[in-house]
């Protein structure tokens, strides 16, 4: 079964067309990587799927678990099992990270008809996930993402993914700004979540992350369109040859 199906998706920011007909399928159990040069529309793709405001779908369809994804609000998408790990996680002054995480987990549990977790139950789950991500416990007491290093922010995103257990996770440049140790921890977090039911769409500029997280498919997005799809070795070829030859291809 396909978790995600995009048909001829066109997306604009203001008057500028960013995605110009994206076709993509992510079946359950697979991890797909979307690569491409800066400005090709990679972030626009995942932000649009999560329901971010400035992006306007002008044509095409997006189906998630067989339903019209675009008809749902951002919170409905999350409650149906879509998750976006942000490229730039937002800082929220004054809102404690632990409280935020519990509010989020409980919002999603409520929507699924599951009992809400009380503070004590939640904290024990949280503590074990936190140590798996090699995050300092004091990051729970701080305000959401405030005073976090770049790497801590990204780990906090993966921590949320692990707590929320989505059907489909969209990871937006989760590898950027990470040193090699942090990259391995993040990769381990992703790999631990991989199973037959869950899907991933991983947006990345470099092949680096894919050394640790093996993709089932690699798609190359250039100038708002997917111009090439292939197996994992496509990522290695892009690393060696760069994106220029594909840019030329997209202009033909």
């Amino acid at each position: 079964m396909n978790l995600l199906e995009l048909r001829n998706l066109h997306v604009a920011i203001g008057d500028r067309m960013v995605l110009k007909g994206v076709n993509l399928e992510v079946p359950a159990g697979e991890l797909h990587a979307v690569m491409g040069p800066n400005g090709s529309g990679k972030s626009t793709l995942v932000q649009t799927l999560a329901g971010a405001e400035p992006y306007r779908v002008t044509d095409g369809q997006a189906h998630f678990l067989g339903s019209d994804l675009l008809a749902w609000t951002p919170e409905e998408r999350a409650r149906h099992g879509l998750f976006l790990a942000f490229q730039y996680p937002v800082e929220i002054p004054g809102l404690g990270n632990a409280y935020f995480l519990r509010s989020s987990v409980n919002a999603i549990r409520r929507a699924r008809g599951e009992a809400e977790l009380d503070a004590a139950d939640f904290l024990s789950t949280l503590r074990s996930e936190l140590s798996a991500m090699e995050m300092k416990p004091e990051l729970l007491e701080r305000s959401v993402n405030q005073g976090f290093s770049g790497g801590e922010k990204k780990r906090n995103e993966i921590l949320q993914m692990k707590l929320l257990k989505p059907c489909l996770a969209l990871l937006d440049e989760t590898d950027s700004g990470l040193d090699i140790d942090a990259l391995k921890i993040v990769a381990r977090g992703i790999n631990a979540m991989r199973d037959r039911k869950r899907g991933f769409l991983v947006v990345t500029h470099y092949q680096r992350l894919l050394d640790y997280v093996e993709p089932d498919r690699v798609h190359v997005l250039v100038n708002g369109r997917i111009v090439q799809s292939g197996e994992a070795d496509l990522a290695q070829m892009l690393e060696q040859r760069g994106y220029d030859w594909l840019t030329e291809l997209s202009q033909v």
Partner: protein, 417 residues
Amino acid sequence: MNNLLAPILPVNHSGQSTWEEWLDYIHAAAQSAASSEQTLIRDESWKYTRQPAFRTKVGTFATTEPVIRTGFQQTDEPVKGRQWDLMPLSRAYALKPDLVTTQFGRIARADARLMTALNTQAFKDGVFLYIPPGQVIHEPVEIVLTLTPSRAPAFPRVLILIGAGSECQVIERHIWVTDHSDEASEHALRVVNSVTEIHLERRATLTHYVEQQGDSSVRTVSLTSVCLDEDSFYRSFQFDGLGTLLRHEQDILLAGTKAHVQLETLALLASREHRDRQTRISHAAPATRSEQRVRSVVGAHATSIYGGRIRIQRNAAGSDAIQDNHHLLLDSSSRAMSRPELEIAIDDVRCTHGSRSGELDRDALFYLRSRGIDPDHARHLLIRGFTEEFLALIPSEPIRIGWQETIAKTLSRIGEP
């Protein structure tokens, strides 16, 4: 001594006259100050708030009866054996005439502001707190000012003196709520004009919590005037709850080397309310430090005003001033105005200021919604986050928890979930 601190009211009664005689003398002196030309010069800081009208004839005012509490236990009389004094000003006049007559009106000067002059010519009694030198008081001292059932204007007055090297916490609660059992008062607008003056001697530390709660029938103007000697530290946490019109002024004089002031304020404005906060900080000695963060949550059709003046005098080399102001606007009809004024006479200082007014951060709202949180709850979390930034700074846990509850209740009255 800085000549700003010269007593405005000449000391000619060294306790020989009665309280009533001294009061008459003070009232008259203030009345002449109020009518002097200087006081009546148009004060720009009143640009956005209409000054309440008073009948200024002496002797026609009812006044508040200050309720004095120490810790959380009510006592009206001075406690024997205690090393410090908390009592009505009239009693302090009888027991410590030299302190009262030399310090009263010295920091909150009747010739400087019209509202202070009006308070000084009309107050009937006040609260007096004196911590002698070298005392560390662990239990917080609580002063509650409430209104007696009447429609007359009220002129509360507080005088706090902290001796050299002493440390204490003072909670000052202004509960400006009229008695609704008096039907007539529901329609009349009650005016409160309160003045608190504080003097910190060398190396003294005061943590001052001020809470103001009003209702739709009260307009209040209040002044906290503080003078800091060498190495002293004054920090204040002020929370303004609801009230149709509250104006609060803070005048700070950093008179001694390395004196340090920290002002943290939070105001919550329900629909159509008006809040005006004015801070005036004067760096009058070397290596003095001031930091202030003024925050407001502004409901629909409400108006939040902030005026912040920092004056760094020529002799204040090495001083450091930080001013930050943030109005959080909950609705497109919410209004905010900020007016920072920096007056810096020398180069060797650091002075930074920032001012923001805006609605809730859209990126933050989307981030929360993308985690399954519905928009109303996301809004609530962001507003709560804004208030928590203020609360997190409060060192006293009982006060922090108490204000947390009050803030939650107040926000629900503003119409936020």
